[in-house]
């Protein structure tokens, strides 16, 4: 059984994110005949040979492992689309391209379990890796905008994995700025001038707001 993540670090563990990604829908082409499945998570099927149908990724992977279907590569994972996305990611220093919320996990699951259904797998894989790298770099530089006046950060088009990775830093940074900005903190600092010595590496000190 998957272990629980610590609720106060990153909210979700990688395994839990993968679990969530497994509920994303993909198209499969079964090679068997099977009645519809009436599952708790929904009704899927019926399954007929050569007739495409939509199922959650976990179901697709389970059938694939037993050699009962082929998985159709999602549109956004074609070499053509990914090349476009990568170019657009490189062109803009700030904006992120819309990709499925779980693109990292979906791509990994498909690489692991359906490699023979992916044409040009090496190309696709390296494109995904490149996109991931470019995006992570942008996130890194993008985080520099957080300052003492930041009460909210909009994370347009970030994916689940990316959100999860920046969460501890972003949350802590925003919280620290929020605390430093609160009136009690400013009074405290005035009352105890030696408080400064406790945080020598806080960077340039911000002028206190006139009261």
């Amino acid at each position: 059984m998957a272990s629980q993540s610590d609720p106060h670090g990153s909210a979700f563990s990688a395994a839990e994110l993968e679990f969530l990604a497994e509920d994303e829908m993909v198209e499969i082409v079964p090679n068997i005949r099977m009645d519809p499945l009436n599952l708790i998570s929904g009704d899927f099927g019926p399954f007929r040979p050569q007739i495409a149908t939509q199922v959650p990724l976990w179901l697709a992977v389970a059938l694939k492992k037993r050699g009962k279907c082929t998985i159709r590569l999602p549109d956004w994972m074609s070499v053509e689309k990914l090349t476009q996305v990568l170019e657009a990611e490189r062109d803009s220093a700030r904006d992120f391209q819309p990709l499925p919320f779980h693109y990292v996990e979906i791509a990994r699951l498909l690489f692991d379990h359906a490699r023979d259904d992916i044409p040009d797998i090496y190309m696709v894989r390296s494109l995904i890796e490149d996109i991931k790298d470019v995006r992570f770099h942008k996130i890194g530089t993008g985080l520099e905008i957080i300052s003492e006046r930041t009460y909210a950060v909009k994370l347009l088009n970030l994916s689940a994995m990316e959100v999860n990775i920046v969460r501890p830093f972003v949350a802590k940074a925003l919280e620290t700025f929020y605390k430093l900005d609160s009136p009690e903190m400013i009074q405290d600092a005035e009352r105890r001038p030696d408080a400064r010595t406790q945080a020598p590496d806080r960077g340039p000190r911000r002028p206190l707001r006139p009261r």
Binding site: P7, L39, S41, V163, A171
Partner: protein, 226 residues
């Protein structure tokens, strides 16, 4: 003026949306969202009593179905797929309950003395919380407090001169969370003081916000934590 008009039409929207989400959202989806919210929120949320009840019933029904299938010689593949679906639902339910227990354990003293929080717990969770606080109180007493001078014998206060219980850990509502709006919520005031400019909360966008400022939206289900 604009805001009051917005609210009026907004509440109308809520009703239709709630109705639509009621008929279109499966319990599996609801349970997943309850789990995500519970995991991402710093404090304990309301126990989803009826959802948990329904999920339990579905799990039981599915267990019976699987047993019946395997007896009646339905092919092994179908049975194993049903079993996987069942396992996934059970994982969600268990992880949901366990996440709550972790929070209860952590903030047991605070939850117990705050009636708004106490009422968010299910009956078994309340029993758990009581046992938690009893055991922790006893442990502190035996291992440390009984050996301290009289003034420092409380496990809730630093010393007798403390005016309030200042040794009780509680959830940090000022911590920031990442959330997604289910639909356009318009300009939203993040700061009680009104000093800050309102932020436009748009559907499907992600925001990092202070939990306290969006707490009502989480409780009413208008934003999801991720």
């Amino acid at each position: 003026m604009a805001s009051s008009a917005g609210e009026g039409s907004g509440s109308g929207l809520v009703d239709t949306d709630d109705y639509e989400s009621l008929i279109s959202t499966t319990d599996a989806e609801l349970l997943k969202q309850a789990w995500r919210n519970e995991k991402a929120a710093p404090e304990i949320l309301r126990f989803e009593a009826s959802l948990v009840q329904r999920s339990r019933e579905q799990i039981q029904l599915m267990e019976e179905t699987i047993e019946e299938y395997s007896k009646n010689g339905v092919d092994a593949l179908t049975v194993s797929l049903y079993q996987m679906d069942l396992d996934r639902t059970m994982f969600l339910l268990r992880s949901y309950l366990r996440t709550r227990l972790q929070k209860i354990e952590k903030y047991a003293f605070h939850i117990q003395k705050t009636s708004e929080l106490w009422n968010l717990l299910s009956k078994p969770e309340q029993t758990f919380a009581i046992r938690c606080t009893d055991d922790m109180g006893q442990l502190f007493e035996q291992s440390v407090l009984s050996k301290l001078p009289d003034r420092y014998k409380s496990h809730l206060k630093q010393s007798v001169i403390s005016e309030e219980d200042d040794m009780v850990p509680e959830a940090h509502l000022d911590s920031f969370v990442i959330c997604r709006c289910k639909r356009f919520l318009g300009a939203f005031q993040l700061d009680e003081t009104g000093v800050e400019k309102p932020v436009d909360l748009e559907a499907d966008d992600l925001y990092a916000l202070r939990y306290k400022s969006i707490k009502p939206l989480v409780e009413s289900g208008q934003v999801d934590l991720v």
